[in-house]
């Protein structure tokens, strides 16, 4: 049983329950607190899809392009995310390598894959595994913030290590693309309405 089935529209801010209006094309506002009223997050699917597509596009340069340049005297070295992980692993810092790999590669990829999968199941109208899908979504929400780790590392390094000619670290384009990917995936997961998972649930009815 859903509120939509009862032609009711709850306000998410103050909890006031309104009657559902037939004018679905117009925006509805809560008569008590002025918040927008919507049955589901507005255009959740298309928004999530748009954010996801943008994130997937930017994820390619984020990995291919160097995230930072370290300059020692006159030699400049560029680092990509994966290259850094390999370097850490080969350098013996396997724990760090795992952390960086998880934060910079595993988490964003998981988010992209899970959100895509959820969108796909909703589109297809799958009537199974609603509970599992919801759990997946909750997990994505929770781990999302951890992929900002790389950004912090680069921003800290660039500001700390700047000895002009001796040693210098500059941020590469990759890190901007990566930041955009992280933001876009967060936006995607925010715009995703997990209730859509349950909309096609026939077992509850």
């Amino acid at each position: 049983m859903r509120s939509a089935d009862l032609s009711l529209l709850p306000c998410h801010s103050c909890g006031l329950v309104c009657r559902k209006q037939p004018h679905t094309e117009k925006r509805l506002y809560c008569p008590r607190c002025g918040s927008r009223l919507h049955h589901r997050k507005p255009k959740s699917q298309s928004r999530t899809l748009a954010y996801l597509i943008a994130a997937i596009i930017l994820y390619i340069p984020a990995n291919v392009m160097p995230i930072m340049y370290t300059q020692k005297l006159s030699s400049v070295q560029s680092h990509t995310i994966l290259g850094g992980v390999v370097q850490l692993w080969n350098g013996g810092a396997m724990d760090l390598a795992i952390i960086v790999f998880t934060a910079s590669i595993l988490v964003p990829v998981t988010k992209l894959v899970v959100l895509s999968y959820l969108l796909f199941t909703i589109r297809r109208g799958s009537a199974q595994n609603h509970l599992r899908n919801t759990r997946l979504y909750r997990a994505v929400e929770r781990i999302g913030r951890w992929s900002m780790l790389d950004l912090y590392v680069v921003t800290l390094l660039t500001s700390l290590v700047s000895f002009h000619t001796l040693a210098n670290i500059r941020a590469g384009f990759g890190i901007f693309a990566f930041a955009a990917v992280v933001v876009l995936t967060m936006l995607a997961s925010m715009s995703f309405d997990p209730r859509l998972i349950w909309d096609r649930n026939k077992t509850n009815e």
Binding site: H23, E25, C30
Partner: protein, 547 residues
Amino acid sequence: MNDDNAHQEQLPEPAVETRPRLRLSLIWVVPLIAALVALSLIVKHYVETGPSITIEFNDAQGLTAGKTEVKYKDVIIGEVSNIKISQNYNHVLVHVTLKSEAARFASKDTRYWVVRPRVGIWGVSGLGTLLSGSYIGADIGKSKQTKHHFKGLENPPALTHNSSGSTYTLMVSNLKSLHIGSPVYYRGVKVGRIVDSDLNDKGTSVTMRIFVESPYDDFVRRNTRFWNASGLHFSMGPNGLKVNTGSMLMVLLGGIAFQSQPHAPVHGKAHSGATFTLYENKNKAMKTALGPAFTLRMKFSQTLRGLSTGAPVLFRGVKFGRVESVHLGYDPETHDFPQIVKAEVHPMRLGRIYTHIQQLDQQSGKKFLQILVKKGLRARAPKSSLFTGARYISLDFVSNASPVDFHPGVHPVDIPTAGSSLSQIKVRIADILKKVDALPLKEMSDNINTTIKRTNQTLKHLNGQLLPQVENDLKAMKTTLETLNSGLSESSPLRRNLSDTLNQINRAAQSLKTLGNYLSRNPQSVIMGKPGDPSSEYQGNLQEPKQ
């Protein structure tokens, strides 16, 4: 359901949006922007990436794929994308991705080399690479033709394409202390350097290319002399020992200096690529021209131990040329192995007469030589020093030289030879010995033998016959003498008689003396006689003849 409916009746209506809504969702701008950004990156990548080239190196020391840069004038023009070993495992193939603005570096005559720290006596280079790591240096070519496979140089080129100046070729027999990068000086000012050096095809001399910077290349004239200015040059002259050096730097590093000969007419500028001879030192370079060389051939029958190639040829004690070769010949008629000496002489050393002869005609020189040979011009190979045994060739007039056939027309001209003064003495001694040999010694000794025999016989004869006779004679003589002796002995009557006689004579002489004395005192007594003298009788006796 009715209950629900009743509830719903009491609920308020939501306020309806009053503004009209855009149908198209703005959210699709986000992926559009992302796509544009990605697209722009791809475009940028293709625009920035220039041609990809491969450079062949002997080794990849200090080169790292994805890290090593390619620099031109210290500006990055590309990056090493990967390093592979060549198919025959001899080389290293370095793939380089050039930047788009450096596309011209893929031209045919561009050169690449690895810049590493190099420490040499001429200085230290590439120090920066000690810390930053090696990089690949490039020198842009001028060619319009593109090329994608290059052979990397092992050393940085001494000459880059954009340097202005001229290149010249120098020929030298031995590179000695010179090397690529050695400076070239003009009056002590560094104006260039040695660009490269190579043995010629036969391996008999070294060809080096030097680069003289503009505008100093104007000083290189067609008659400019180049010499090796490195090291110390000692020369012993009439003024004592003379040490010739350039600056200390030149002594240590080596270098080439050039200058035109003093008093020489000013020639035009030498064109780039002209060939010059590199002289051993300044003195040799500044000497007047030797003039054209002329080959002489001499056949010596004596041994010429100590005569080496390069030995001087002196004409009346003046250096006239040098020995080019000494080798054995063979005379099939006499089965003799004469020493054949070829020498190169410079007739210009003769001075004014040479120029005079040159002006006459082609044959005059040969005629002149014929006259000289007729006058007794001979080649000899005396020792210059008894200690070292080194020989030289001396051309001089030999008095009463035996006349020889001389053909001035053939080439090389055969100069008749004479033995050296020392060997002449030897020849004379040999002549004397020959004469001694020719003496009829055996006959002479035979004659002497017979003479001696005869003498012997004569002596024998003398002994046998003459000697006894002589003995007898002697015996007879002895008896005679003995008789004589006995006759004269004290006891002999002859002796006594003789003694008496002598006493009487003595007395008589005394009486005569007394008489004389008396007469001198009393001369009258001769007439008057002795008065009262009992010896008047005597006197009377004496006076008697007076009567």
